[in-house]
Amino acid sequence: MIKPNTGELDPQESAASEIKSYTTGFIASLLLTVGGFAAALSDLPTTWKVVLICVAALLQIITHMRNFLHLSFSGGQSREDLLLVLFSAILLTIMAGGTWYIMSDLSGRMHQTMDSVASAQSQPHSR
């Protein structure tokens, strides 16, 4: 692995352990992806499917960060990187949460409940 800010190779980390980390990450990601598809294709109730897919997605994000992006709480550089990732997470939460807050309020006032969407789809010229 390359030492931060220098471009020098870090002797402590050998290529073998590098490859091992990448392989673990790759296999884990693969399993989690397949798991998501399996959940979608299974005949579990819809709520369960959604929950399973979300959990698999979250786990996969963490796998990518750990094994591919080398984030961890220890070590100067990885810590700095982790802070950046947390900052991103805050911004994404603001955006996603804000959208949810705004759009749910609006859809309530536009009388756009799930029922009305469904009925609008079944009878296009309802208005």
Binding site: I102, R109, A120
Partner: protein
């Protein structure tokens, strides 16, 4: 439309130029349209002829277009922005001229220079150009030029990516330019809200021009943001801790972060609208479960951070010049850093204030209204810091200081009208009126435009080796200040009187006097533009008298003033060791700052490449083909881009090596020259005696 799409030419045919409109129907509107197209055509022909006659094509290609040097890329960005600025200001003037003649009667409501549809195209292109192809390239260009020099780096972290970003921005600008000649532009304003811009209500090519210009150039800006961020994190010179960086670097860092997080939102909203238009999706349509409010939501999730992306680099410039031209250290460095960072974060929490009146409940409005008012605080802190910096300094009224003064007076008014608009119940009264138009021009022109022009004036000698004429510089600045006041103050009044923005016509004669005042302001703005161009020309002609080979014409304290003017390709003969904030200033205090390095080494620079140029060409072809439904070309150019990237990835690329002897020779010559030049005092700054070697005893920054 799609019924008669030709497999080769798509929807293109001979009826799409403004000349065909002119032949069908002669009136002032078609004449203006054909006139604008002719300016484009003749301008292009004249440009080609000039370059051929002067044999400039070779140097243009070798020295500029294929260069991965961030300084050159920055200059090209600014050149692009100035061309687009000319078009934007002329369009603004045409709109002002139109509205001054647009008084209709109730029986005959339409009047004025141009037809309503043409007017809608004007404000749509004007807004799009000014935001995406003037303000953005200006600030990205300035950061490209200044940031590596201030950090003590030789280049950006990813020089070729930088070239690609420039290419994508230029491709977007070219799409907008070509829309003058081929087809029409959209009429949905710079925000292009659906459902009006959906395929049902805007079937033609206009909205697609906007979409592809935005998608392509937006991609470029995202990449730029990443490049800036990585450069600041990884390329600082040894010893350049974060808290030693000049303020311009700090605001660049904020801009970089905001570009990375805000631009994707724009790409997403535009891509969704494109899917609606091209592939029959229903994200934003009225029917089939679409919800157009989500467009406004996502667009402004980008749009509000965007306005701070525009203003923060200007804040950086003002921090540098207020200190340099008052001969004082910047007041409240830490508070300025904290304020910039707070702005960067808070600006992601206020976007709803752009659609207070679009139907959400009062609770939501209040939450975002309060957030909006809070963001005024850090900005206020900054204004006080700059005033305190100048307080009791020996302020020289140079051109940048004229801009700064104009900014102080006018930006505060614009900020104040913003705080007024942040109150949802007041916003209900004045939204969509020219009060709003006055407000945003009131922050954008004194903020972004003055800031960038001040920055260009300030760093111009570093780029080209000679100063800009102070006389003409000041004249330009005064014209921009006066022009602003006359053009936009009346719009506050008109807005209060109830005049809606984007109106092609009106029937109330009481509006007319204010329209005349605003039109006069438009004339002043045109004069300012001409004066700006003249400043460059006359300074170029006097370049020997204005030359500053010493490289430090303003007695500055940041690193970039330690190198010669024009700055060499490698910037620093040896990467400096940073000892303090304002390192160059500390070196001046310590005695002889112009000591050369003891030993010179070979310098490795990225080699020139046509990569960015090729990708820009493919991106332009992709955009144009998609606009006109020329599918074969679209597929071809879409595949060409990853193809070229893969090809480059597989080649071994040898960097350019500048031999130590060459560096040593140039550097020794520079140091001898500095030693032989007489130093200039503050009083001599504007005279020929200023050769770029300041009187060190006067340094107090």
């Amino acid at each position: 439309m799609s019924g008669n799409t030709s497999p080769i030419f798509g929807n293109l045919n001979w009826n799409v130029t403004p000349y065909t409109d002119l032949l069908q129907h002669v009136d002032s509107s078609t004449i203006v349209g054909a006139g604008a197209a002719s300016v484009l055509v003749f301008g292009a022909i004249a440009g080609v002829a000039l370059f051929t006659y002067m044999r400039w094509w070779g140097p243009l290609y070798r020295i500029w277009l294929t260069s991965p040097d961030a300084k050159k890329i920055g200059i090209m960005y600014i050149a692009l922005a100035l061309v687009m600025l000319a078009r934007g200001i002329i369009e603004g003037f045409v709109m002002r001229a139109h509205q001054a003649t647009a008084l209709g009667t109730l029986a005959q409501p339409e009047a004025g220079l141009v037809a309503p549809d043409h007017f809608s195209q004007l404000f749509s292109t004007h807004g799009t150009i000014m935001i995406f192809f003037v303000a953005m390239p200006l600030l990205i260009g300035l950061i490209n030029f200044v940031l590596p020099q201030q950090l003590g780096a030789r280049d950006m972290a990813f020089p070729v990516l930088n070239q690609v970003s420039l290419g994508l921005t230029a491709a977007g600008a070219a799409l907008i330019m070509i829309s003058l000649l081929v087809g029409q532009f959209g009429t949905g304003g710079w925000t292009m809200y659906p459902p009006y811009t959906g395929i049902d209500f805007s079937p033609g090519e206009g909205v697609d021009y906007w979409l592809w210009a935005i998608l392509i150039s937006g991609m470029g800006s995202t990449l730029t943001g990443m490049n800036f961020a990585v450069t600041i994190f990884k390329e600082r010179a040894p010893g350049m801790h974060f808290m030693r960086m000049p303020l311009f670097c700090w605001t660049s860092l904020c801009v970089a972060i905001m570009l990375v997080y805000a631009m994707p939102a724009l790409t997403v909203s535009s891509a969704m609208l494109a899917l609606d238009r091209y592939a029959g999706f229903h994200f934003f349509t009225n029917a089939a479960g679409g919800n157009m409010m989500n467009y406004a939501n996502i667009f402004w999730m980008f749009g509000h951070p965007e306005v701070y992306i525009l203003i923060l680099p200007a804040f950086g410039v003002f921090s540098e010049i207020s200190s340099t031209f008052s001969g004082k250290r910047l007041y409240g460095y830490t508070s300025l850093v904290i304020a910039s960072m707070s702005i960067a974060v808070i600006s992601f929490t206020v976007w709803l204030h752009h659609f207070f009146t679009m139907g959400q409940s009062a609770g939501v409005n209040i939450a975002f209204g309060i957030a909006t008012m809070i963001i005024g605080i850090p900005t206020g802190v900054k204004i006080y810091d700059w005033m305190a910096t100048m307080w009791r300094g020996r302020v020289r009224i140079t051109t940048p200081i004229v801009y700064l003064t104009g900014f102080f007076l006018l930006f505060v008014i614009g900020g104040l009208s913003g705080i007024i608009l942040a109150n949802p119940s007041i916003d209900y009264q004045v939204h969509n009126s020219t009060f709003l138009v006055a407000h945003f021009h009131n922050v954008i022109i004194p903020g972004v435009l003055y800031g960038m022009l001040a920055g260009i004036h300030y760093w111009f000698p570093k780029a080209f080796g000679f100063r800009l004429s102070e006389t003409w510089g000041r004249r330009t600045a005064y014209l921009f200040v006066g022009g602003f006041i006359f053009t936009f103050m009346p719009l506050y009044v008109l807005g209060m009187m109830g005049f809606p923005r984007r109106s092609p016509t009106f029937q109330n004669p009481e509006f007319l006097p204010w329209m005349y005042v605003a039109a006069f302001g438009g004339v002043l703005m045109m004069c300012a533009l001409a004066s700006l161009m003249w400043t460059f020309w006359t300074s170029y002609r006097n370049r020997t008298a204005l030359a500053v080979p010493g490289g430090d014409p303003w007695n500055g304290s940041t690193l970039e003033w330690s190198s010669p003017a024009p700055v060499p390709e490698w910037t620093f003969p040896q990467i400096p060791q940073i000892q303090a904030r304002g390192d160059w200033g500390e070196a001046k205090r310590a005695g002889d700052p112009w000591k050369g390095p003891e030993r010179y080494t070979d310098i490795e620079m990225p080699a020139n490449t046509a990569h960015g140029l090729l990708i820009a060409g493919a991106a332009f072809a992709l955009g144009f083909a998609m606009v006109w439904h020329i599918w074969w070309l679209a597929i071809l150019s879409f595949l060409a881009i990853p193809g070229m990237i893969a090809l480059r990835g597989m080649r071994v690329i040898t960097p350019k090596i500048i031999p130590a002897a060459e560096v040593e020779e140039a550097d020794r010559r520079f140091r001898q020259q500095v030693a032989s030049l007489a130093s200039a005092t503050r009083a001599d700054e504007e005279t020929e005696r200023n050769r770029g070697v300041p009187d060190l005893s006067e340094f107090a920054g």
